[in-house]
Amino acid sequence: MSAVADRYAEFQALGTEVISMSVDSQFVHKVWNDVELSKMIEAGGVPFHMGSDGGGAIGTAYGVYNAAMGVDVRGRFLIDPDGVIQAMEVLTPPVGRNVDETLRQIQAFQHVRKTGGGEVTPSGWTPGGKVLKPGPDLVGNVWREWSPKDVYGKK
């Protein structure tokens, strides 16, 4: 949460809004922001809406509410300008997300959308990286166009 808040400017630069959501009340959000998060975030506080999902109705709708624990587990959804879910990632509570990967996925989905699906982004794609153009000629020929080594150094 604090990592997303600290890098909010990068989300904004991609025309992306952030909403956080937990079962805590908005009053608890305020106190957490004031006493702790504001000390971890360069901008001095959480710059986006911290939503309150008391009862878990919203988490239930998204399939991330754990009734036994009474909390929304760590679920991240990327929603496009048409309101369609393009990506989702759900983690159990002890492991945090990677903001770099979230930003990378937004950039990749935006590239695909901009090209009307004419260009798709292979594994590990980052802006400026090799894209693929799906079509009959590419079937069985991806190996000619792209290799994992293009992106991932062999370790």
């Binding site: 992306t16 908005q26 919203i58």
Partner: protein
């Protein structure tokens, strides 16, 4: 969205089209309630009480229609990760 008053009456979070509370219990039981979403589906719209820039308000997903949205659920305030 509208500025909320910091009173003791907390507005409940709402999911669009999920008016289950109005339906009799027996009816709800018969319904197949699909929980969860997947990629390619329309994101369920919702309205939730929110803390935003020092004040109390509400946030509605569809108020950001036309923009990309990263919706991040997390287990709770004051948790460690």
């Amino acid at each position: 969205m509208s500025e909320g008053k910091a009173g003791c009456t907390v507005p409940a979070a709402e999911v669009e089209g999920a008016g289950a509370s109005a339906a009799p219990i027996e009816e709800v039981k018969k319904e197949v309630v699909r929980m969860g979403v997947t990629v390619g589906m329309k994101a369920p719209d919702f309205t939730a009480p929110a803390f935003y820039k020092g004040g109390f308000t509400t946030v509605k997903l569809s108020q950001f229609a036309g923009k990309w949205v990263a919706l991040c659920f997390y287990p709770g305030d004051f948790t460690f990760v």
